[in-house]
């Protein structure tokens, strides 16, 4: 049983391409296969994040985030793996990773 937890953050703007209904069905099937294969690793499949939000600092609340589009976190997921290699393998196998421009940052969550 893997004990390390990893936070996976999808970066970049959501893809603009429009898959066809037939392609969507294929993607859905591929995602289901992936979910089943890694069900022990996927602790929280997470969510997409809406494009804008609030940034709270000592000086108050502003609309944000203001980062470069490519740095914006578009979604997240929490997985379990033994090490980074294991975590990378789970994310690499995710169907969305074949999309051009796909980018996921993987960070080990400290356990204290």
């Amino acid at each position: 049983m893997s004990t390390q937890k990893y936070l996976c953050m999808y970066r970049g703007a959501p893809s603009q391409n429009k898959p066809s209904p037939a392609q969507m069905q294929e993607m859905f099937a591929a995602f289901n296969v992936w979910k089943e294969k890694f069900k022990a690793n996927i602790l929280d499949i997470g969510s997409k994040l809406k494009p804008s939000g609030k940034v709270l600092t000592a000086s108050g609340v502003t609309d944000g985030p203001f980062a470069e589009a490519k740095e914006i976190v578009a979604g997240f997921m929490i997985i379990a793996a033994d090490d980074y290699d294991g975590a990378v393998a789970v994310v690499k196998a995710m169907p969305g990773m074949q999309m051009p421009g796909a980018c996921v940052e993987i960070r080990e969550m400290a356990s204290f």
């Binding site: 429009k18 209904p21 037939a22 392609q23 069905q25 859905f28 289901n32 979910k35």
Partner: protein
């Protein structure tokens, strides 16, 4: 329009006993994993576009409806992967697409007053996701959309593209692949269709189906075209071809279920599709090439589909009318029920081609009749018939014309004529499989 599917008795239509056939199992496995039936997204696309277009009454802005459905499907993809498949995925999609559409109509309302009214109506009048589940209503909506696509004011090639897009849920890239067109060309055809739809008067949306009856002939033409694009396609991917034929059969079956479409002509068209559909698998060899009728393994012909063809042909015979589809279905039935190539009732087929030619005159019918007569009485009577035809210029450049002449001369032992025609056919044959067949025939002349 291409030649009818009866062409190619001699040349293109054959089967390969060794070609291991049957649908590949790969896609089915993954569909099972998704918990959705095959083609679920595509079929839902057509269903939702049709329902929402009728509910909102904006044939003029069917592209807004399509965008809403597309967006709902993208949302579904994320949501269904993250959570579980909803109990009723169709109702889920309907609800989400409906809400997106209201938003889109509101956003566009500033420019277009009519859309504001539509949005209000949609908000007030519906949101009853249960209602589109009534099969009758959905069927009528789909048919209505089919009749919308078949407006004779839209150029014929645009009608087909519009139907493939809105009713069958194919993307422009997928349509391009299926019709052997560039994607730009598909977009252009689609654009022409939409341009026309924008001119449809607003009260069009409230017309009852019966008012659209005058378009039935155009609907038949588009369905026939759709089937032939699958059946005659040079596309080597078997599942792609099957899909096109299945879509044509699905929509034609819908048409038979509505009083407006339930005519002997529609029944004959459906019979024709089933007879040809029954032979579709056996018609392709292992490499996607076409097999001659003579070479086809008749045990691969789909008995269930042949039975359906016979049932529809019987229904088609109920009235007084005898249409081109009756003649073509009759020819297809003769082939389907012949115990072997040699035992085919060639005289009946020759007679049916003569009847077809009286209804829809074309030198192609005479050509096919000559082929049947050559099988029945020998190559010389067949050649005599061909000589009596004055071929129009387009036919002279058609490889099948040369191929048929070449083959009949070859059988009659006219070595030089045979060579001349086969070489000409070879120069314009569209596929490798057909060129290969012609080369074999050319080689066989040496031993004459």
């Amino acid at each position: 329009m291409r030649g009818n599917p009866g062409d190619g008795v001699l040349l293109t239509d054959t089967s390969n006993p060794s070609g291991s056939l049957g649908p590949s199992t790969g896609p089915q496995d993954s569909f099972a994993a998704s918990g959705l039936v095959e083609h679920f997204f595509r079929r839902e696309y057509g269903r939702l576009v049709a329902i929402l277009t009728r509910k909102v009454g904006v044939v003029r802005h069917v592209d807004l409806v399509e965008d809403a459905v597309q967006t709902a499907m993208m949302t579904a993809l994320t949501s269904w992967v993250a959570k579980d498949l909803p109990e009723d995925p169709g109702a889920w999609l309907y609800r989400v697409a409906h809400n997106h559409l209201i938003g889109a109509l509101r956003n566009n309302a500033g420019r277009l007053r009519i859309l504001e009214a539509a949005a209000n109506e949609l908000t007030v009048a519906v949101d009853n996701p249960a209602s589109p589940r009534f099969d009758d209503e959905v069927r009528d909506d789909l048919l209505r959309m089919l009749f919308v696509c078949c407006d004779e004011a839209i150029p014929k090639d645009s009608r087909l593209v519009l139907a493939l897009k809105t009713l069958c849920g194919f993307s422009t890239a997928e349509i391009a692949l299926r019709l052997f067109l560039s994607e730009a060309n598909v977009l252009k055809r689609l654009g022409r269709a939409r341009e026309h739809l924008r001119e449809v008067p607003p009260d069009f949306d409230s017309l009852p189906m019966q008012a659209l009856q005058s378009r039935l002939a155009s609907v038949h033409v588009v369905l026939y075209l759709l089937f032939n694009e699958g059946y005659l396609s040079a596309q080597s991917d078997r599942t792609v071809r099957r899909e096109m034929c299945d879509e044509a059969i699905r929509l034609t079956t819908l048409l038979t279920e509505h009083p407006v479409g339930a005519t002997p002509e529609t029944f004959a068209l459906l019979a024709l599709m089933h007879f040809h559909g029954a032979r579709l698998t056996a018609r392709l060899d292992g490499m996607g090439g076409l097999l001659l009728l003579e070479e086809q393994d008749r045990s691969l012909w789909d008995q269930d589909q042949m039975r359906l063809g016979a049932e529809w042909l019987q229904k088609a015979a109920s009235g007084e009318t005898f249409t081109r589809f009756h003649a073509e279905a009759g020819i297809a039935a003769e082939h389907a029920f012949a115990p072997s190539f040699a035992q085919t009732r060639w005289k009946e087929i020759a007679d049916l081609y003569a009847m077809l030619d009286r209804i829809a005159p074309s030198p192609l019918n005479a050509m096919n009749r000559a082929v049947a007569i050559a099988e029945w009485q020998g190559p010389e009577p067949g050649l005599a018939l061909l000589k009596a035809i004055e071929p129009p210029p387009w036919l002279l450049g058609y490889y099948l014309w040369d191929a048929v002449l070449g083959e009949l001369h070859r059988r009659a032992g006219h070595k030089e004529e045979a060579r001349r025609y086969i070489e000409r056919a070879l120069a314009s044959a569209p596929t490798d499989a057909e060129r290969e067949l012609l080369r074999q025939r050319l080689a066989s002349l040496e031993s004459l």
